[in-house]
Amino acid sequence: MSQNYKSVFDIIGPVMIGPSSSHTAGAVAIGRAANSIIGGPPDKAVIRYYESFAQTHKGHGTDYAIVSGLLGFEPDDSRVPQAVDIARGQGIDIRFVEEQGDSPIKHPNTAILEMTKDGRQVTVSGCSIGGGTIEIRRIQADGFDIQPGGLLPFLLVEEPGTGQTCEDEVKPIADKLASLGVLGGCSECCDEERGKTMYAFDLDKPLTAQTVKDFASHSSRISYIS
């Protein structure tokens, strides 16, 4: 038995624009997660679809859904069906690619988003597991390649590399999460050459807006993905 679905509102909900919770609402969620990770709408995005997503993205509105998420829209925003035109109107370069092979993150509803923003490259691999619930299974950014637990919410932390040991730099964050009773697990990717590490803290519960604000003031390279 898994514990992928924790809230009754994962089952009765979300309120969304049709037609598919996994291919539309879930795709909005993948786009929103990518938006949070890169810090706003990207300048360019190549969206690679696998398996069921590759076969049916046109019919299910997956294209406009992912782009809605990249723009930061909610799943029931009335602009969702027009998102691709809206994004292109803003000068965002968007391409969709139907991949033939199996999903690299082993799920039939997979989208891999290769994004560029202000010269920074970030790749987010997400899958939609049903009913609008998603997992982010891999993030490649700033030389890191990290595989979080998958489920949202999680906190992505890139420690600043001030010369302290990794533990000392992120310990206050981990302690704070533990004291709030929300810390589920932690994945890390260490770049020994640069002496820097990226962490993904899996959270059992969503953070309050105030806690997110407190963390954001602590470091600029900390993103809350919810």
């Binding site: 038995m1 898994s2 514990q3 992928n4 679905y5 924790k6 809230s7 009754v8 509102f9 994962d10 089952i11 009765i12 909900g13 979300p14 309120v15 969304m16 624009i17 049709g18 037609p19 598919s20 919770s21 996994s22 539309t24 609402a25 398996e51 069921s52 076969q55 049916t56 046109k58 019919g59 299910h60 509105g61 029931d76 969702v80 069906p81 039939p108 509803n109 939609s128 597991i129 049903g130 009913g131 609008g132 519960k205 969503p206």
Partner: protein, 291 residues
């Protein structure tokens, strides 16, 4: 947290609480929220469902961009008014509400996914019948959704609710079983009867494939929700009468998962096999997408 239907029934019997109340308390405890917050959020979901039923049933109804679906909830409304239906008017009201909701979904309108968008008409269909037959007040309608959610959570965590991983049995099948269980509670049955209704409803739809024509959530999705709602009401009635499924709900869920895993990819929301692969289905795909 409950991990199985058995645990849900045992908790209900031990604490003398309906399943809906167990779900509400679980949600409050998990997220540290007040009852009012949890309740109001579900009330908003109910409002979304009601609005979709009204939208799909008003005037000529709504139509999808492809024209493959739409307008049949309005046809059913007129048919109910002018003719004597074979299945009885309560059943037809359920059918109309289910179809209206999924027509709204196919036309990119706002719906509440229960548990998915493709299966979003099943619970509103069951609710329409309960409102009419039991004069279920708003409070009871909200409780219905919590009870349905509790059973849905068990399915989602022990099997799957996505057509791409489990076929339509995981979507409309799950929605129908959730609706059957919650309908029993609304009608005054106990948690054990709910579990039986759940098991009967899911057993009836085991093996249902996900074969959307042209990969669109239209054919046959819209009408499958009508069957999901009807099946839920039938299963609930059998359980309320004292009928049992013999195979327990938790084992039916495992069977659903195994069947889902054994379905070929062509029958798991790829728009390749089943009705999607018929000459007419292929023809629709070519007309709509040019390939």
């Amino acid at each position: 947290m409950f991990n199985s239907v058995k645990e849900l029934v045992e908790t209900s019997e031990r604490e003398n609480l309906p399943v809906s109340e167990i779900m509400i308390r679980d949600e409050m405890e998990r997220y540290g929220e007040e009852r009012e917050q949890v309740w109001d959020r579900m009330a908003k979901n109910l409002d979304t469902m009601d609005a979709a039923v009204v939208k799909g049933s008003t005037d000529k109804g709504v139509f999808s961009q492809t024209g493959l679906t739409g307008g049949e909830a309005a046809l059913l409304r007129d048919y109910r008014k002018n003719k004597v239906s074979l299945s009885g008017d309560v059943m037809m009201e359920a059918v109309q509400a289910a179809i209206a909701t999924n027509e709204v979904n196919a036309s990119m309108g706002v719906i509440c996914a229960t548990p998915t968008a493709g299966s979003s008409g099943t619970l509103p269909g069951v609710l329409a019948a309960l409102k009419r037959r039991l004069e279920l007040p708003r409070e009871g309608q909200i409780r219905f959704l919590f009870a349905a959610g509790a059973f849905g959570m068990v399915v989602a965590n022990n099997a799957m609710i996505a057509g791409a991983t489990g076929g339509c049995q995981a979507e409309v099948g799950s929605a129908s079983a959730m609706g059957a269980a919650a309908a029993v509670e609304a009608a005054g049955g106990d948690a054990n009867m709910s579990a039986e209704a759940f098991a009967i409803a899911m057993s009836n739809l085991l093996g249902l494939v996900c074969d959307p024509v042209a990969g669109l959530v239209e054919l046959p999705c819209v009408k499958r929700n009508a069957i999901g709602a009807g099946n839920a009401l039938i299963a609930a009635d059998i359980a309320l009468a004292g009928g049992t499924n013999k195979i327990p709900a938790d084992e039916v869920i495992v069977a659903m998962r195994q069947v889902g895993k054994n379905l070929p990819a062509s029958l798991r929301e790829t728009g390749i096999g089943g009705l999607a692969g018929t000459p007419t289905g292929e023809g629709f795909r070519r007309t709509i997408f040019g390939k």
